[in-house]
Amino acid sequence: MKKILWLLSIIFLLTKLSYSQLNCSNFLSTRKAEPPYKMSSLSKSAVSVSGHTYKYEVPLSADKEYRFLFYASPAFNNNIHFKIIDKNATPDPSDDKVILDLPGENPETNNARGTATLASYTDAKTGEEVHPYFDIVPQHATQLEVIIEVKEAPPQKDEFGNTYSEVVKGCIAVIILEKPMESF
């Protein structure tokens, strides 16, 4: 009987594992916001592929403060360029402003805030592990464009000496937390 139960547990786990491989929505459901923040319904997680660019058009309301966090599957090795543009709600692209430009992980920057985009780091003051975040406050309602460029994996050579780039597939999540603006 013990053997049967053991076997069933293994099968259940295998089933679970194989099914959850590309389920990017798990990226969102496993993360909880800490008060006073709550998870915004604008948060989004999607299947992403190396060599492709993804744009997230995010409408922001003027009565809230937002916190942006980025997460990516380890398969991408943080080889991702993040950029946030304030579209300012105007149809004139010359009014757009780049408000954040994060060219991917750089080991030399040692996860300093504002340069590290993905890896968690230990806060020197509290000793707690934190994930880099960016606090954004809209003065008037606006549209942010989050551009995520998943760079191609470094080229490799096959057995015949031909160069190729491996296509990496994984999940990238833009987690958006929100709270009422303090002055409201």
Binding site: S18, Q21, S41, K55, L60, S61, T90, L100, Q139
Partner: protein
């Protein structure tokens, strides 16, 4: 004993085959999405907030709970095709958020049940698992817990639709939810300059444009196309709203680490545009909910 092992082996294989089938389906869907990328190189996601998130409106002093505004629960039986069922699923989700935002326990429970009923018709019954049903049955009267359950239900539905790549359904539900939220707010507010609620209605131009483009991305589906065509009337009105340059960044005091955005343009709606928007919202809503 040997027989039970045979049954177990058969059961195990069935489970594995089932899981492989499911995984294959997920991968196929993922690869379909990737193929779409190949043609455009850049994939764009237009994000639309949930009715709960839009109901930050509820804090405004000129909004109140009007029980005659939400779509009556008994209308649920009128919706006999997928388009109407999905649209009104969004409509009822917004009504649910409205009741929760004003702490109306009995109404919240009523609309949770309507949403559950419609979810069964559009293949979302799985979202209402035992844990959610138990939460509904033991619902307290605390306003925060009502908002939390309304929010969580909508969140779970969106994640479920994304997980199974039901993007067309998601677009229609988002369209229905946004329309009902606007219907409730615009029928509660009266126009006056410098009214914060009116400003929030003007700001919906940004959210509407996202919703419109999201629908546009999916017009290969006839149901989405029908909704998109209706929303073209609204697009024409929102396009009339004026964008006024402002420069009052210095008036805002925030923590130094925070990034200020949206500081140079404000959206403005005048009385005539407000009335036009009010009328078209009411007209489309009557059409979608069959309240004529």
């Amino acid at each position: 004993m040997r027989k039970s092992y045979l049954i177990l082996i058969f059961f195990s294989f069935s489970l594995l085959i089932f899981s492989c089938k499911k995984e294959k389906k997920t991968e196929q869907k993922a690869s379909q999405a990737i193929e779409q990328n190949d043609t455009s190189e850049v994939e764009i996601f237009y994000l639309v907030p949930s009715p709960d998130d839009i109901f930050g409106f509820a804090s405004s002093s000129d909004l109140y709970f009007n029980p005659s505004l939400p779509n009556p629960p008994e209308n649920v039986d009128k919706y006999n095709n997928t388009k109407l069922q999905e649209l009104n699923f969004g409509v009822y989700s917004a009504d649910l958020a409205y009741c929760a935002a004003f702490g109306k326990k009995e109404e919240t429970k009523l609309y949770l049940n309507v949403v559950k009923q419609l979810s069964e018709k559009i293949g979302l019954a799985e979202v209402f698992n035992e844990s959610l049903i138990s939460r509904i049955n033991n619902l307290g009267s605390n306003k925060d817990s009502l908002i939390a359950i309304s929010n969580d239900t909508y969140f779970d539905i969106i994640r479920y639709l994304e997980k199974y790549n039901r993007i067309n359904s998601l677009a229609i539900i988002a369209a229905g939810g946004w329309l009902e939220t606007m219907y409730l707010v615009i029928n509660l507010a009266s126009y006056s300059e410098n009214n914060p609620t009116i400003q929030k209605i003007a700001d919906q131009k940004i959210i509407f444009n996202n919703l419109y483009r999201f629908l546009q991305q999916n017009t290969s589906d006839p149901n989405v196309k029908a909704v998109f065509d209706e929303y073209t009337k609204l697009k024409a009105i929102f396009d009339e709203f004026e964008l006024v340059k402002v420069d009052d960044k210095h008036n805002m005091s925030v923590d130094g680490d925070k990034i200020i955005v949206g500081s140079s343009v404000k959206i403005v709606i005048n009385k005539e545009q407000f009335i036009k928007l009010h009328n078209v919202i009411n007209e489309i809503r009557a059409d979608f909910t069959l309240n004529k």
